[in-house]
């Protein structure tokens, strides 16, 4: 589904991604972790072309992301993304946050878009809030709306960039629950997260990135067992202290 082959990226002279290669098969859930500034967000944003890369290739569902002939908006419409800071549209009601791209990008009729939106709000447990505006919801609720907004496009894969790290601790689980359900239903997912419980529970593979390099890329049983790299070991010992 997602093939990343020898991808390198530079900001000026600074190399953010170093020869990264990995892949996510259909239905797989891949968790990406690593120290701050290691390039996790950059890698995941390269997948839906929110960032450019200079070397290597990325293919999503057969479409080459780096190819200048690729219609990027069309590609992005097929891949959902959830951000650390939710990025809901504050001027639109919750319902309209879920319908706008369905109508403007997919060309769905208003009725169909609303119906889809209502189903998804129901699913993330927020039906009662359809008429509210994003800033009237808690962080956890906003992030669930953001997930629903991405799902409304019927994506073939979902990208998550630290979806729970801007949340108060008591709201983390309501968002993770939605993600776990999604993973169990077979959604193809790439998740940057430090929620190791989530990784243990649903990940097909765990990728550890350090200074732009993919250092580990293995199943969770190995990663959380004893087969991780020393760098990952060091990293894990730090985050598991919290």
């Amino acid at each position: 589904m997602i093939e990343i082959v020898n991808v390198s990226k530079w900001y000026g002279n600074f190399q953010v991604l170093k020869d990264c290669t990995t892949s996510v098969a259909k239905g797989e859930v891949v968790v990406i972790c690593g120290p701050s500034g290691s390039g996790k967000s950059t890698l995941i944003k390269c997948v839906n072309a929110l960032e450019e890369f200079q070397q290597g290739s990325i293919t999503v569902d057969g479409t080459s992301v780096g190819d200048p002939r690729t219609d990027l908006p069309e590609l992005r419409a097929r891949v959902g993304m959830v951000f650390q800071n939710f990025e809901l549209f504050p001027h639109l009601s919750i319902l309209d946050n879920l319908t706008i791209a369905q109508e403007k990008v997919l060309g769905r009729k208003r009725d169909a878009a609303v119906k889809k939106a209502e189903q998804l709000l129901e699913r993330v447990g927020l039906s009662a809030h359809a008429k509210k505006y994003p800033l009237q919801l808690s962080g956890g609720q906003q992030q669930r709306v953001a997930i629903a907004r991405a799902l409304a496009m019927d994506p073939i894969a979902m990208l998550f960039d630290e979806p729970t790290s801007a949340l108060d601790p008591e709201m983390v689980s309501e968002v993770l629950d939605v993600m776990v359900t999604l993973a169990r239903e077979g959604m193809t997912m790439m998740c940057v997260t430090h929620e190791m419980g989530f990784a243990r529970q649903v990940a097909s593979r765990v990728i550890f990135i350090d200074r732009g390099e993919i250092v580990d890329d293995r199943p969770p049983e190995q990663f959380f067992g004893n087969e991780r790299s020393p760098r990952a070991e060091q990293f894990l010992s730090k985050i598991l202290h919290h």
Binding site: N48, L50, P73, E74, L75, R76, A77, R78, V79, G80, M81, F83, N85, E87, L88, F89, P90, H91, L92, S93, I100, A101, K104, V105, L106, K131, K132, Y133, P134, L135, Q136, R149, A150, M153
Partner: protein, 233 residues
């Protein structure tokens, strides 16, 4: 010299000739603000373009029209352009002068409004597959609009009074008509008082309108849930 005449003052307060002048001031303002906003929006988009060939002319325009007095611009349009064979009526000159001048100021307001919309909003829109024009129209502009409404309201207030400058090319707005009557009747204080009252009346009404517009656009941003309730009515 005569002393203040109350009867004169009240007569002119309801004088149709003055009232019509006040109406002219109103529509001059309305047309120039709408024209200025459209042109200003185009200029703002041009200035935000990464291409110098696009942004530079817009920058030059803003520089020119903000850097010279409106009075001079009006005189050039009305009495200078005929030298180049372009002959415009008083009304045309006034409208064009006010619009071109206002556009330069509004371009800066619109530009800063657009820049104030967080980049994350654009990223989120792109991630949903929206195209740049759609992002501008459905995501960035509505949010920028809320940001620019207060300064825009100030501009309208300013323009209501600035229209009086067009009296120098004999545009028959409120000030010009007041002056005409003064020259006939010599009731200087009474007539200026009447003009001042009309200006105050208009600007005060505008303040009320502006506050309602601000409240309307601020609805989504109230965290207490009031916005959601008023939406269900």
């Amino acid at each position: 010299m005569q002393v203040w005449s109350w009867s004169g003052f009240f007569d002119y307060l309801t004088n149709p000739y003055i009232m019509e002048g006040a109406l002219t001031t109103l529509w001059l303002t309305a047309v120039s603000i709408v024209g200025g906003l459209i042109l200003g929006f185009i200029l703002a988009l041009m200035r935000l373009s990464p291409r110098r060939l696009v942004s530079a002319p817009a920058g030059a325009y803003v520089w020119l029209f903000r850097g010279t007095p409106l009075l001079v611009q009006l005189i050039v349009i009305y009495t200078g352009l005929p030298q180049l064979g372009i002959r415009l009526s008083v009304v045309e000159s006034a409208l064009i002068g006010l619009t071109l001048n206002e556009a330069a100021y509004l371009a800066e307001i619109v530009r800063s409004g657009i820049l104030a919309v967080p980049q994350g909003q654009v990223r989120a829109s792109r991630a949903l597959g929206m195209r740049e024009a759609q992002i501008m129209r459905y995501i960035v502009m509505p949010q920028a609009l809320r940001i620019i409404i207060p300064p825009l309201g100030n501009s309208v207030n300013g323009l209501l009074k600035t229209t009086s400058v067009t009296s120098v090319i004999s545009m028959e707005e409120l000030l010009r008509r007041t002056q005409v009557l003064i020259q006939e009747k010599f009731m200087v204080l009474e007539l200026f008082a009447v003009a001042a009252i009309y200006y105050l009346l208009i600007t005060t009404l505008w303040d009320l309108v502006q506050r309602r517009i601000e409240a309307r656009f601020g609805r989504a941003y109230q965290q207490n849930g009031a916005g959601a309730e008023s939406d269900q009515r």
